[in-house]
Amino acid sequence: MAKTSAEYDYSIARLFIIAMITFGVIGMLIGVVLAFQLAFPKLNYILGEYSIFGRLRPVHTNGVIYGFTLGGIWASWYYFGQRVLKITYHDYPFLKVVGYLHFWIWILTLILGVVSLLGGITQSKEYAELAWPLDILVVVVWVLWGISMFGSMGVRRENTIYVSLWYYIATYVGIAVLYIFNNLSIPTYLVAHTGSLWHSISMYAGSNDALVQWWWGHNAVAFVFTSGVIGTIYYFLPKESGQPIFSYKLTLFSFWSLMFVYIWAGGHHLIYSTVPDWVQTLSSVFSVILIIPSWGTAINMLLTLRGQWHQLKESPLIKFLVLASTFYMLSTLEGSIQAIRSVNALAHFTDWIIGHVHDGVLGWVGFTLIAAVYHMVPRVFKREIYSAKLMDVQFWLMTLGIVLYFSSMWIAGITQGMMWRDVDQYGNLVYQFVDTVRVLIPYYVIRGFGGTLYLVGFFIFLYNVLMTIQKGRVLEKEPAYATPMGMQ
């Protein structure tokens, strides 16, 4: 017998929604500051040594990945996990306690992470900067999520595991393995009994460390930004649009091929480095193959709306989800192109890569999670969305912001790459390094402006959610599909 909506327990989802928006504001605000610091170096000193680019940048990446994105994925889990497994936390106080612990230890880890990174305590491996004691906390958070997820599956009343949860299982296991192996290190205090307690050195040296780091670094993208977010959109797009997913076979195919292919691609960060050529080539080839499962998923999303394209006009929420799928296609195509050796020779170390990451995270990750929150908020707070018009304004500001961001970074990156390699007729370098820096300043300003538009859109999102919670029309009954929206 289907359970009525009133019986689902949304208390944990609510906490994650609020925290996710908060970390989104913090992470993106820092991102805008970083963008302008490159054009106006004086901005490095707004908070003394603590606001210099090198200290702030990991706070931005960690805040957005582990605060905003994981927060959004977990908000979604604590919302739809009960629904697709047909359970409620009211019946399972243990799962509820685990959920609360999961949330609060995650918050504690994030706060300690921000403070320690600002203080210069870092392992310097990208997206794995946290010091070893915090890594242990991260593992605790992860174990708690595992207990929540597999525990819920253990008591489920629905026989089949919904496709979103396939992707969440992949995120869970993938990140666990990669994070632990990449962070294996020896705390130096335990060996030498002197110096800082926070300090540790990696188990791997040099080229091996690089290989393990990018096996992790690229696949953090694979299992947080890709599989975690695909899992999310696979719940919210069919639910919001009222349409079944286009093809079950395509879903199966794109899931298993993504899981098999993605990990091979990590080595494309190391093309022309000192890791062996055969690893570089293999990574490059698999990066190109990766387009197949990626586009398989995106096409499956877009075709879910076949015959329903009028919904794009009627609902800003659908617009976010459709553009997210489109940005996913753009970003994965671009990634495959950048992994081709000759292109990589030009693109690596330039802003083109930054552009690629951001059309993915701003367009695909950001838009999917924003849509997920817009779908969840009316249901968990039982109120109609305050303003559809504001959603629309937010959508267009953000979209314009993304376009300015990636186009300026494409031009900047390719310009810089070309200038670095430019030689005159005698084979001498044409440009000094600093010449290539100066030429990028206008693009940095455009990028900063694009980022600002996105951030303004995010503040509108925050405002709209807060107003929904406070002033939205109260909903008597939970809407089954399309989310009700006020028109002002």
Binding site: P41, N44, I52, G154, T194, G195, A205, G206, W215
Partner: protein
């Protein structure tokens, strides 16, 4: 065909692990022990250099500077001989970076001097007009962390068998000897610096972070290898 997996989270997870693990086994394992071998004559970092490397990491220099010269004509001309795997054998963690907002630093020790770095860190535009690098004035006031640097070098020696204390090589000794060597080496750097406060601090036995950082930057280059084996044309 796969429908039984979708009804059983345990087997589903198992199937995922299999699909997921293949790449790691194929790509990472075969080469793991080979790439860890140091190039002949590679010197470990002294404690002052280790302390400087810790400053480099803690300030996030790797966010803007790479330490990996790719085998292209333009890069070799700009930065020096291209990088070889065996040069990184004592680098824990590796510091290749992923973006060149500033130039590559893998051989910066071959092209810049202590005096240049001192000016550059105080006011980058004074030596590189148009530079967008921030000034690092706080490195001139904070003391380098000898104890943590010693702990790192000691761990390198004990756990990872990095060849410290070999005749004619980099000496570590016990913590008192190490401190003495640390101060001696710092004096070699400070003698080439202008700042009177840094000179005064050294007389009191304190080494500023900037001194350690410059020692580290100076060590980056072919001087890391006792008999230079790397030329612009490769080996």
């Amino acid at each position: 065909m796969f429908s039984f997996l979708e009804k059983n989270p345990f087997f589903f997870t198992l199937a995922f692990v299999v699909a997921f693990a293949v790449a790691g086994v194929v790509e990472i394992l075969p080469n793991f022990f080979k790439s860890a071998r140091p190039i002949e004559g590679l010197k470990p970092y002294s404690i002052l250099e280790t302390a400087g490397r810790q400053v480099y990491i803690s300030e996030g220099c790797y966010n803007c500077h790479s330490q990996l010269i790719r085998p292209f004509q333009a890069e070799v001309q700009r930065y020096g001989a291209y990088s070889l795997s065996g040069e990184y054998a004592y680098d824990r963690p590796f510091l290749w970076g992923s973006r060149r907002i500033g130039p590559d630093l893998h051989r910066v020790g071959d092209v810049r001097t202590t005096a240049w770095h001192e000016k550059h860190m105080l006011e980058p535009t004074s030596v590189v007009p148009g530079s967008i690098m921030p000034a690092y004035k706080h490195l001139f006031t904070k003391d380098a962390d000898f104890d943590t640097a010693f702990a790192e070098a000691y761990t390198q020696k004990e756990v990872f068998k990095v060849p410290y204390d070999k005749p004619g090589g980099v000496q570590l000794g016990d913590i008192q000897e190490a401190k003495k060597l640390f101060l001696e080496e710092a004096k070699g750097i400070v003698d080439h610096m202008q700042d009177p406060d840094i000179k005064a601090a050294l007389k009191e036995g304190r080494v500023k972070e900037i001194v350690a950082l410059i020692a580290y930057l100076n060590s980056l280059g072919q001087g890391r290898i006792e008999t230079p084996k790397v030329s612009a044309k490769g080996q």
